[in-house]
Symmetry: C2
Subunit: 142 residues, 2 copies
DNA sequence: CCTTCAATCTACAGCAACTGTAGTTTATCC
DNA sequence: GGATAAACTACAGTTGCTGTAGATTGAAGG
């Protein structure tokens, strides 16, 4: 039987975060000692590791919930899991695209800055006037 | 004199967001009509546009606050604004790097999935077992 | 002048995904 | 049996908004 701190250490998850996952139903309710402390099995550790790893790959808690459901029912089709992963991949690619546009703009902004006083600062000037931008960046960078 | 809805339309900012910016002190407190509605000058519109544009470039509200301060005091050195922009650039580059690692991993995951049942689903397998990953991705993707 | 209706107002709850704090109780080790 | 680390609950705070409810206001048309 594992205490919550052991799960915490072994998965690099804050104790409060584990309790939070229980609260929102991602982790099963843990068994308790007579004194009320949570005690876990190895399988709980595996589940938490799955959640953490998925988070590291950028999946939302909602997606992870779906993936866990699939994982719990091994007879289902794999297609669902595949499509969740593809969706995540598309999102990541989207974000990269947007960030690359931002990077370009920021680079240009910084490169052109050579004035010594704020009055002639290119950085502030660009921020003041969107029309100086080369690219469109209408969505706020996630 | 401009109503809040006009600022909203002209900058693509939700009305509540403008009020929120006032609440946290990013926008100056607007003048009011006898009936209590906010009325703005052109300079307020400019300030809001500056804020929005900076947000689109991914600056945090705290950074924007600094940038606005600089912009309000045009005799200061430009170095400060420059360093804020460079910091932002570094952050963006960092995020791109991380996302590219994720993308690689997700691509591999999706590419290898060919089993038809969840039991042999590569996606779920990879999520279960971090050691199957090629890259480290210890930080949760922002 | 009066009605009407969109626009605005305040106040507060909610989102994602945690993180931090305070104050208390439990488990473990010597 | 005492000390101390670790666990407990409950709740506030983070970032940057967004949405809702219910009450007013302002401008245009008749």
């Amino acid at each position: 039987m594992l205490a919550i701190g052991t799960l915490s250490r072994r998965t690099g998850t804050k104790v409060q975060t584990i309790r939070y996952y229980e609260e929102i139903g991602l982790m099963n309710e843990a068994g308790r000692t007579a004194g009320g402390q949570r005690r876990y099995f190895e399988k709980d550790l595996d589940r938490l590791a799955f959640i953490r790893h998925s988070r590291q790959l950028g999946f939302s808690l909602d997606s992870i919930r779906e993936l866990l459901d699939l994982s719990d029912n091994p007879s289902q089709s794999c297609a669902e899991a595949d499509s969740i992963a593809r969706r995540q991949l598309r999102q990541v690619e989207q974000r990269i695209k947007r960030l690359q546009a931002l990077k370009k703009e920021l680079k240009r902004m910084v490169a052109e800055c050579e004035g010594d006083s704020v009055a002639e600062c290119k950085v502030l000037e660009v921020l003041r006037d969107h029309s100086e931008c080369l690219t469109e960046h209408d969505e706020i960078g996630a």
